[in-house]
Amino acid sequence: MEYDIVIGLEIHAELSTETKIYCSCQNVFGKEVNTKCCPICAGMPGTLPTLNKKVVEYAVKMGKALNCSINRLSKQDRKNYYYPDLPKGYQISQFDIPLCENGYVLVPMPDGVRKIGVTRIHIEEDAGKLVHNDAFVGSLVDMNRCGVPLIEIVSEPDMRSSAEAKAYLETIKQILSSLGISDCKMEEGSIRCDINVSVKPKGEEKFGTRCEMKNVNSFLGAVHAIDYEAARQIKILSEGGVITQETRRWDDHKGESFLLRSKEDAQDYRYFPEPDLRTIEVTDDLINKVEREAKELPNIRLIRYLEKEGLPFDDASLISENEGKSAFFDACLKIKPTHAKVISNWILSDISKRINETGKDISEIGVTPEFLIDLIERVEKKEISVTAGKEVLLAHFETGKSAGEIIAEKGLSQISNEDELLKIAKEVLDNNLKLIDDYKNGKTNLLGFFVGQCMKASKGKGNPSMLSGILAKLISENY
């Protein structure tokens, strides 16, 4: 039997605010243990939380980006559980009135755009970290991460494959990054996710029993975890078994998930309204500010590149995910709207190479959209060859001189004079008489070789397409 896989994701993203969510300690990763803490972080008796304005702003930004309705009045709740990394014995979160809800996100994939529902986005505090040391029997508590602000983005169970889940995750990451509200450093754990997976016989409407997987902290890990879990469930079902609702822990190293707790052991978090805080108001001013600052998001841009500009998926994806390249690409398009693919080729080849080599942003490597378009036009007009164009760009990076100057200095302008080209062609053919016979006997791809030889002889300046015609004509008529 064939099965459908149903996937929902809960993404936790750390926000890159200056201070923590409920106190004025610095929100920073990788500092000496327990040095970015105060009595509030440590949950000392008598301490109280004060909510960081920026956290609300960032959550609203994400809510708007994911087309959510914003709850102009919301509240916070306590989620009660015991763990040594949770100093107060409860986490301040949001339960029934999150800041944002009922949204969606468009996720472009090579075979089409998916619309994934976003159930809610709420704000909450991160827990501390437990340090394990093999040389030592206990565990060590570091509270630096206590109170780091998080948003939790909960999706609808709208994904049907691990590839879709990965594309969704990447889209969310790009949006967070583009909004500048999260560092999105997976290796520092600034984005983590819990994955809900269920399977159902193909065509069946009713969802199967779902299992939740915790501790997934890489996109590849998510793919593996989903594939593993779907296979596990399908195996159980196809052997006549029943899926029981449970929480599992994904182990990326082992590539397996393990049972954490079954439904019977489900934790009772005893949520109730946080009495130390009052109502959160999202003011008109804040909404206006967020709307004013809104710009095109990477997923929307990708869809535009695909649908309006007709770029291939890989091109569109590589450009759209980078703010600088996108801005450059769009600026080029503005000058030359008909040349999307050619512009993309230049950006993704020689310009990207330069970016990688220098480690600089596209805006810092010394090439302007005007320069690139000028170069493209010169190539198009056959003033120079593509090969020469690449050389011009390289020289431009080094010297900042204009294309015209470089072409003149280096004598790169293309030879399009038929007499001159005829002379070069004859010379090349005369030196390769044996190969002409092979050519005539069917090895027609030798024409390319002859063109190459001509280019070499002309120091790269010969017009290759003209040469190709001249060579073919010469061989058939004169040799």
Partner: protein, 483 residues
């Protein structure tokens, strides 16, 4: 008269007139503590050197003309309020050695005002109780009769002022914990409007109900201390600007003042003698120009239920932090994390605290939230509306503070009976209102009886003003202890 016997207002005048120094006052109070605290047991921690240091600073302030109403006045602080350099035990084995590395907002204000902190005083463990018998660290007696309880949970705060071991004190009130001991000990206690005093640095019992407040021998002293601690604090998101004006808390007349008498507070649960004395006081106010009106607050009868659900629910969560990990009591040699949590908590908390944590956990647990917690919150809303309605026909309410006078130590063992002694006070916390308890004229069994004025939100000054007029009408409170 010994300095410790004087009121803050008198001492303040003497200080400003340079008739006495703050050091002399602190010294006098400390001698008194040495002489009588063996009997009373109000203090958990004292520190003469620290007190004298603060007194010296107060004298400097006065010399520089920077004195305030509280400069040089000795204040005892309940042991659930953080004072750097002192422990904050909450009278619990759990926090027996806990020394907070920071000051409460009110502590900072006391320091700024030049007050002299005498030490930390006893209470029911984590402020849960009505007799201070739930202190895991000390037994406190009622200074008027050492065989009786001082009330609670701020029993140490009230006893210290009544026994003249402090001029004024700070307590905290979640369901009557300032007013009831004030009434048992024959002193004045104000539970301010919720949010008018910052809770930052007050060890939480029930966050939505807890409020720090002042206790004094006179209404004026109580008002003076309140004027120093009230005010908005950016560290407490629930705090608001109280706009308390000390000059409005005294003087004026009773003409035009309508005092509501809610019959539910004079029911069968209240001793006949207490009712009689409170009604006599009402008549005294009436004859001085106030108008008495009957008001109806039917929700009162169920307030205890709502109070115990809400306060215990919040407490169960607030007290989760005591898990043996970061501070406080840790069980010896736990074999696992679970054992560390369970044994530290089971060994560190007393019975009443455990009872309330259990009740609170239950009412929040899956399947019971709506039936208990939600229902109680809805009832609280209704109760607030009842008060609002009542205040359309009167300016304030007058009720007994407690159904009876202080009971004997060990007399009440049944927790439910103990809870019932909060019947007159819990509504005020549920509704977030201000209320001040003052001694009435006359006694029952030679013990003080208290009545409380309940005001509209932020009408703290007005109830203090009327309470002060009553104090004047009866020629001052005659509640001197025998030793």
């Amino acid at each position: 008269m010994e300095l410790y016997n004087k009121s803050a207002s008198e001492l303040s005048k003497m200080l400003r007139a340079k008739e006495v120094s703050a050091v002399e006052i602190a010294d006098s109070v400390y001698k008194r503590i040495e002489n009588v605290d063996d009997k009373v047991g109000a203090y958990l921690e004292t520190n003469y050197e620290k007190a004298i240091k603060m007194a010296k600073k107060a004298d400097e302030m006065i010399a520089e003309g920077k004195g305030t109403v509280m400069t040089g006045i000795p204040v005892a602080v309940k042991d659930n309020i953080c004072v750097k350099g002192y422990k904050a035990t909450c009278a619990s084995k759990m926090l027996e050695n806990f020394e907070p590395p920071y000051n409460a907002f009110v502590t900072e204000n006391l320091i700024k005002a030049g007050a002299v902190i005498t030490g930390k005083v006893n209470m029911d463990e984590f402020a849960m109780g009505s007799s201070t018998e739930n202190s895991a660290l000390k037994r406190t007696a009622n200074p008027h009769d050492l065989s009786r309880v001082p009330g609670g949970s701020s029993g140490g705060s009230a006893a210290a002022v009544a026994a003249r071991e402090a001029i004024v004190s700070l307590g905290s009130d979640t369901g009557g914990s300032i007013r009831q001991p004030a009434s048992f000990c024959g002193v004045v206690g104000l539970k301010p409007t919720y949010s008018s005093v910052s809770r930052y640095g007050l060890v939480a019992f029930a966050s939505s109900l807890d409020q720090i407040g002042p206790i004094g021998k006179t209404v004026a002293d109580t008002a003076a201390l309140y004027s120093v601690i009230a005010g908005k604090d950016s560290m407490d998101s629930t705090s608001l600007e109280a706009n308390f004006n000390l000059s409005l808390a005294s003087g004026g007349s009773l003409s035009g003042v309508k005092i509501g008498i809610p019959k539910q507070y004079f029911g069968d649960g209240v001793s006949a003698k207490v009712k009689e004395l409170v009604m006599n006081a009402a008549k005294t106010l009436e004859s001085a120009g106030a108008t008495l009106v009957n008001v109806d607050l039917p929700g009162t009868d169920y307030a205890l239920s709502a109070y115990y659900i809400i306060s215990c629910a919040e407490a169960s969560s607030n007290l989760s932090r005591y898990d043996g990990v970061k501070y406080g009591y840790r069980a010896e040699n736990p074999k696992s994390l679970e054992e560390l949590f369970v044994r530290s908590r089971s060994e560190g908390f007393g019975d009443e605290v455990k009872r309330r944590i259990m009740l609170g956990t239950f009412v929040l647990s899956s399947g019971y939230y709506d039936a208990y917690y939600k229902k109680a919150k809805l009832f609280q809303q209704k109760l607030k509306e009842e008060f609002k309605t009542a205040f359309r026909s009167c300016d304030m309410l007058l009720t007994p503070t407690s159904p009876d006078v202080a009971f004997r130590i060990g007399e009440i063992e049944d927790p439910l009976k103990m809870y019932a002694s909060d019947i007159c006070t819990v509504t005020v916390n549920l509704a977030g209102l201000p209320a001040v308890s003052v001694p009435v004229e006359g006694t029952k069994d030679n013990m003080p009886v208290g009545m409380q004025f309940i005001g509209k939100p932020f009408a703290d000054a007005e109830i203090l003003r009327v309470a002060g007029i009553y104090e004047d009408l009866i020629g001052g409170f005659k509640t001197q202890v025998k030793f």
